[in-house]
């Protein structure tokens, strides 16, 4: 099994780049009207980007808070093997692979609580690999 990517890549990056990335990340999350610990990623042309990682056997963040009518982009990446990301209530279904960022543009058109789940069997603990998207009015 490959155990690659994000951490490995990050270790190889020059230290400065890392610091710069961290600074950009801190700026972007501090400007957001949502809890910082639940939202990371950044902002592109006014659209919030939310980075979601998948690894055996959890999503981070587990709870994603969005606002109805406000466009965002989910950036999904796996830290170990292929997982799935399925959120039936919002009509999302994608594979989440290592070494690859899967972008899901999303403008929630209804408020509510929408569970998501890993739908690619990934081992012991797969059955509990899930989270929720909370959409506020």
């Amino acid at each position: 099994m490959r155990r690659p990517t994000v951490s490995g890549c990050a270790a190889a990056l020059p230290r400065l780049t890392l610091l710069a990335a961290l600074a950009v990340w801190l700026l972007s999350v501090s400007a957001l009207p949502v809890p910082a610990q639940a939202q990371a990623g950044g902002e592109e042309a006014g659209v919030q980007v939310i980075r979601v990682t998948a690894e055996k056997f959890e999503f981070k963040p587990e709870k994603i808070v969005l606002t109805k009518g406000k466009p965002v982009v989910l950036e999904l990446i796996s830290l170990d093997r292929v997982h799935g990301f399925r959120c039936p209530g919002l009509g999302i279904r994608v594979d989440v692979a290592p070494n690859k960022v899967t972008r899901v543009p999303l403008t929630p058109d209804k408020a509510g609580s929408f569970p998501f789940v890993c739908d690619v069997f990934c081992g012991d603990g797969h059955d509990e690999m899930s989270g929720v998207i909370e959409v506020k009015e």
Partner: protein
């Protein structure tokens, strides 16, 4: 209760925990000439050999053995036994996976009825596309007949993304083309062939394609597992019925924020665990079920 004669069966079928179901819409019965050829079989679901989690079930093999012993004491004996997947609990270790499948096979080998049919769950086959399963237990999809009733075994788990897949769909289409449309047909599989609750991964991705192939057949019953509880659903004229696990109970769909096994209840051991007796007859459009709790065994 250790033995069960026919009268006992009928009595059991009428009381708590048990359920008898009949469905409308049978139309003309095929093979009425086969009347009187009734038979019974037993469905085990989600036996999860290798699962050992004291707060939930300290020993899944022991629960399976309890079910096997009970079946062995049935009078009359069922004609055969089916296991609808998650025979073992998953492991990343290919050697341990083989050990668990072999352990399962050993326990199932202790069944008195010698006709025993298996199919995989994602715990058995989802991490290696069924490789170990096929080595130890054989094919993951196949067809068999019993006293005029057709049984179609479908694999919706070897693909970790839970698709039946185009190759198997083509095989199903070819098999079904050989069967008269009104003949009774029982489908055995692991996952529901409908979106029961995809929020908990209780679905099969291409279930619609399977149902489209089954649609022209007038007497179809689907028996499956995966959700670790009894559940009944109609997809048009096709009844889909999940049976209890012998290993652990899962909560009702969407009833709790996070899907997790229901803890072992010392005051009510084996609560929600069990197996199913199916009474079938070529002259009847659909089988009848008795859900048998392990607790009463």
């Amino acid at each position: 209760m250790n033995t069960m004669d026919r009268r006992g069966f009928l009595k059991v079928a009428g009381v708590g925990g048990a359920l008898l179901l009949t469905y409308p819409g049978s139309g003309a019965l095929a093979a009425a000439a086969g009347a009187g050829k009734g038979f019974s079989f037993v469905q085990f679901a989600d036996t999860h050999v290798g699962y050992a989690n004291p707060p939930v079930n300290p020993d899944a093999s022991a629960s399976l053995q309890k079910g096997v012993d009970w079946v062995n004491a049935m009078t009359p004996q069922p004609d055969f036994v089916v296991f609808t997947g998650d025979l073992t609990h998953t492991t990343d270790d290919p050697q341990e996976r083989r050990r668990r499948l072999t352990e399962f096979k050993r326990i199932a080998g202790g069944l008195k009825p010698k006709a025993v049919y298996f199919l995989p769950g994602e715990h058995d086959a989802g991490l290696d596309w069924g490789e170990a399963y096929k080595e130890i237990l054989g094919k993951t999809h196949y067809m068999f007949q019993h006293k005029g009733v057709h049984f179609l075994v479908i694999d919706n788990v070897s693909d970790p993304a839970a698709s039946v897949g185009e190759a198997q769909l083509a095989w199903i289409a070819a098999e079904l083309a050989r069967i008269p449309k009104a003949d009774p047909l029982v489908v055995l599989t692991h996952r529901p062939l409908f979106d029961l609750y995809p929020e908990w991964d209780w679905a099969t991705k291409d279930a619609d394609k399977v149902l489209a192939l089954l649609e022209p057949h007038t007497n179809v019953t689907v028996l499956y597992g995966h959700i670790h509880q009894e559940h009944h659903h109609q997809s048009g004229h096709i009844g889909q019925h999940a049976g209890m696990s012998t290993a652990y109970l899962l909560p009702a769909p969407g009833s709790v924020p996070k899907k997790a096994p229901v803890p072992w209840d010392a005051a009510a051991p084996y609560k929600g665990m069990g197996l199913r007796i199916v009474q079938d007859d070529v002259a009847k459009p659909t089988p009848e079920f008795t859900e048998k709790p392990l607790a009463g065994m």
